[in-house]
Symmetry: C2
Subunit: 340 residues, 2 copies
């Protein structure tokens, strides 16, 4: 739409090289994770691998499982437990996506039709349940109660965050603290768990485990803030989602929270009509973007993202310099460049 | 509707005394389970206890957690681990109900409006996810990898059964073996796990654990068969669901499988129109009932239920006579009397 045009080609090139850096370092592990995912999403019930394959095998950057792999390597782990556990993190993430599709009624996910649009709500919910159960089976096979605790706690927090998000949908009175609570639960909790699990398999001291947990948590906060900014400020082809989706769905993300808080009564009326009453016309998205720009809502949301990004980077100080550490930092910085 | 009228009052009286027998024996434990359920379904996200309370606290017979409690007592268990584990079984069951509501679009559940009808698909799915996660948190607190395995395996099988049921919906070519597979997965697997967990906490020999697992499995098969027969043959007020719900939804349960298999081409055309094309008029349910009666479809489905019931009772031979054993047998027989 507006803003981000222009620098796209250069940014895409930079992103690719950054993606490559971490992906190359954990490449063999990631291939093993993909093999594990394909093997373990199988079922005699044909619709399960079919639907799960649509959302899992078709793509996605495997960011969360890569965090598990990279965290384990950063801690010097030499074994193989991180492979099925990374698959398990991806299964939990995919189950959430499938259930979120039911929730969001979104027409696009990663540029493909959502599983929900193709197979319906029912199948998406039930296959999500299967993947979620499969994740716990994988953890049981691994046999660490500590990891079972980390990921069952994260799963409960994710569900709480999703419900809280549902309660704040279409509610313009949502404040920044509530918004941050929601994204901490629905997104950052799994990033944190994914990283922590890597330290746990490596049996590292509490301080390193905690540093990686906080790296993931802050990365996850930045990641969701970036995603929410890009919904008002992106090149659709690259993002695989339409600009303005959140606006049309009446989602109250930080750009809306800030623009509403800083707006006068007339502007608040506009937001209430568009977001609460879902009464929108063709010109409203442009107007929303103009109001956000007037109040620096997007710029400030980006600054929040960068702030969480800096906090994440600082936690890496716990670890000695290494290629994996540099690649983790680069992956985070690459995310942040999407809004630069 | 037709059939079951007449003996209702007497049956209700018998049911009550049978319910009482097991409920009285495990009464203190069941009260502790209810306390645990209320405590652990809580969340700072208000909609979660609200919606979960609607479906959990409002009622249900707590049959599955009672099976865990009774199995533990049958094995002479004297500790307290069976309490949170029984709550955990109920959470898994409730999550399934919530997700099944999305699936079935059913208007009545236990005589109340479904959570889905009141709060919508989205909230039902997400609160189900929360309860499911909570169940795993409870298992992690218990700390037995064996129990985590039993219940994560059961959860995956349940999801497979639900997806398979979705695939057979509206499909009149579904055969009896496929139907039995579906109910074994979606219903009997959790009955089996609920009973087995009772033996595991009591640390009983493999033979007793296996006997209780098979008791639950066969009870679960009988239970679902009974439920599916009653959908064509029940007193609505007592069952809390309308006669003919499955028919209107195009579910292919055993009475339909048998009537279709035994019908001539004209009758198969009727079933295809009603079940596959979902093209039904007011007289069709009566006609369906008449065809089932002509071919002995309900009578034979009831006989299958009794056969699983007998198999369940036989597994109890492993255990010495006791009040709990008698009450377990009576609970099963009471279920079977609903179709007598």
């Amino acid at each position: 739409m507006a803003f981000a045009a222009g620098a796209t080609t250069e940014k895409t090139a930079r992103n690719r090289s950054a993606d490559d850096s971490l992906a190359r370092l954990v490449g063999d592990d990631l291939a093993a994770v993909n093999t594990a995912i394909l093997a373990r999403m199988d079922s005699p019930v044909a619709l399960i691998p079919q639907l799960a394959g649509h959302i899992i095998a078709a793509g996605g950057k495997r960011l969360r499982p890569m965090l598990t792999l990279a965290s384990a390597r950063l801690c010097g782990y030499q074994g193989q437990r991180h492979i099925p556990l990374a698959a398990c993190v991806e299964f939990i993430h995919t189950a959430t996506l499938l259930h979120d599709d039911v929730v969001d009624d979104s027409g696009l996910r990663r540029g493909l039709a959502t599983a929900n649009a193709v197979w319906g709500n029912k199948a998406s919910v039930l296959v999500g349940d299967f993947l979620f159960s499969r994740a716990f089976q994988l953890m049981v096979e691994d046999g660490s109660l500590k990891i079972l605790k980390i990921l069952s706690d994260a799963s409960a927090v994710i569900a709480e965050g999703e419900v809280q998000q549902l309660m704040t949908a279409n509610d313009t009175s949502t404040d920044e603290a509530t918004y941050l609570d929601v994204i901490r639960s629905k997104t950052a909790a799994l990033f944190a768990a994914a990283c922590q699990v890597g330290a746990v398999v490596a049996e590292r001291p509490e301080a390193e485990e905690e540093a990686l947990r906080r790296f993931g948590l802050n990365f996850g906060m930045a990641f969701q803030l970036i995603d929410d900014v890009l919904d008002y400020n992106a090149d659709q082809g690259k993002l695989g989602k339409a600009v303005g989706d959140d606006f049309r769905d009446g989602k109250v993300t930080l750009p809306v929270v800030l623009a509403f808080a800083r707006g006068d009564e007339g502007e608040r009326g506009f937001w209430r009509r568009c977001i609460e009453e879902q009464d929108q016309n063709d010109a409203d998205l442009e107007k929303a973007l103009a109001l956000m720009q007037r109040h620096g809502a997007l710029a400030d949301a980006m600054e929040r993202a960068r702030s969480y990004g800096r906090a994440a980077l600082e936690t890496l100080d716990t670890f000695a310099e290494s290629a994996v550490k540099a690649a983790l930092a680069e992956t985070l910085e690459q995310s942040l460049r999407r809004i630069s």
